[in-house]
Symmetry: none
């Protein structure tokens, strides 16, 4: 087996040893050399086979674990978890530029966060409720100081919404939220820039945050749901309107 690394090493120039080993391992999994569920040779054995240090092997295995292709447990070994690279739910970046698609993405965010607010009202720990209240106040603060702190304002806004998702105790609500806002962030920055130019109209949003926080604090799921729905409907409409004026003034 020694030497199959060199065979592929020719393909790339600036690739590190870890890169090369990663490619070989991935190739072996994808092409069925190691079937799903199979136990891989131990790290020391692989290091010996590839004639590299265990460090390099660990790095390669680590990457494939991050991809979901391999899995490992201490004392047991590493095994093939999936033979195809997992592709999750992804939103193409270019979709952000279309008003129609952006509206749809905001609509998806609504479905997510409305239910998150309800779950948070039912299940949030006292610490999580305090954190929601804290982020609502922090958002208030950033809006009182009327500097051109665009990024700060957006961040404070998102921190509140993130706190609600954290409060659900559901990793997937938080994970999906994080992905959506990562996709939306730049667009939101552009929108808020417009909002500031035309005079702050985000004072409404501050109060809406406080109201949502109160509903969650009281454990009133139905009220939290309704208020989050209203809030997101309003802020989505605001964002879309802001982007529209930007577009008009820009052209």
């Amino acid at each position: 087996m020694t030497g199959n690394l060199q065979a592929t090493a020719l393909l790339v120039d600036g690739a590190t040893l870890s890169d090369q080993v990663t490619e070989v391992l991935r190739h072996n999994v994808v092409n069925g050399v190691w079937g799903v569920g199979d136990l891989l040779p131990s790290e020391t054995a692989l290091a010996s086979d590839f004639d590299v240090s265990r460090t390099v092997i660990r790095e390669a295995v680590s990457r494939l674990k991050a991809e979901g292709m391999l899995s490992s447990r201490q004392g047991r070994g590493a095994f093939v978890a999936s033979n195809r690279p997992r592709q999750g739910f992804a939103i193409p970046e270019c979709d952000m530029e279309s008003q129609r698609k952006l509206a749809q993405i905001l609509e998806l965010r609504m479905g997510l966060e409305i239910e998150a607010a309800a779950i948070a009202a039912l299940r949030a720990t006292p610490e999580a409720r305090l954190e929601i209240q804290r982020t609502a106040e922090a958002y208030d603060q950033t809006n009182q100081s009327d500097g051109p702190a665009v990024a700060t304002g957006v961040s404070a806004d998102l921190e509140f919404h993130r706190a609600v998702c954290v409060a659900t105790g559901n990793d997937y609500y938080l994970g999906l939220f994080n992905y959506l806002v990562a996709s939306l962030r730049e667009t939101m920055l552009a929108g808020r820039l417009q909002a500031l130019k035309r005079g702050g109209e985000s004072r409404d949003a501050v109060q809406e945050h406080y109201d949502i926080a109160a509903s969650i604090a009281e454990g009133d799921a139905e009220c939290a749901r309704q208020r989050m729905r209203d809030h997101l409907q309003m802020s989505s409409a605001r964002l879309l309107a802001q982007l529209k004026t930007e577009e008009d003034s820009g052209e």
Copy 2:
């Protein structure tokens, strides 16, 4: 800065140090603590901050490089390449094996589909409403023929739910639904297998589908919401219970 690792370590149980550091780094990137293009602290500095060995830091950075979130060059350092996971929102396959995580995934599906039902009630085209009715009837049919058609039953069930998502006219509701059920499919098959062994209790589900379809046909968003919520709550509970009995009988 030392000690901020421990703060988040509580959230997870079987996570390794590398896992924890990875999460913190990812969090810092996603939340803009480190902006795109910024140079990260050196590996030795990070190791000192987190109070772990450089090995752990390298492992974490390596994973985020594989995700496309970080990039590094020898001699220069590591910098933020993107604040957005390239592979989108993804659920690790192994999560399906944990009852707790499975329940959370089903909960996410609820948030998605409840709102989808409401949107469908408001916006569905006549054709889409007919398709929903058709898939509800098709599901009824597969339950009347009492063969061991496990896969058929699950497919018919999912077709109904998919039709609701299609009816929203929102590509992202449909896209996320498709991803979730792709992840859930095998688990649902296992659950339904148990259900059939113990005598069909999916007759309730048939009626629930009809009720949802009726609400959407009438354009009653609030009713559709409520019925979808009830239906998913019931069927999630059914699935979890079925898997539990399977687990008990299997061991």
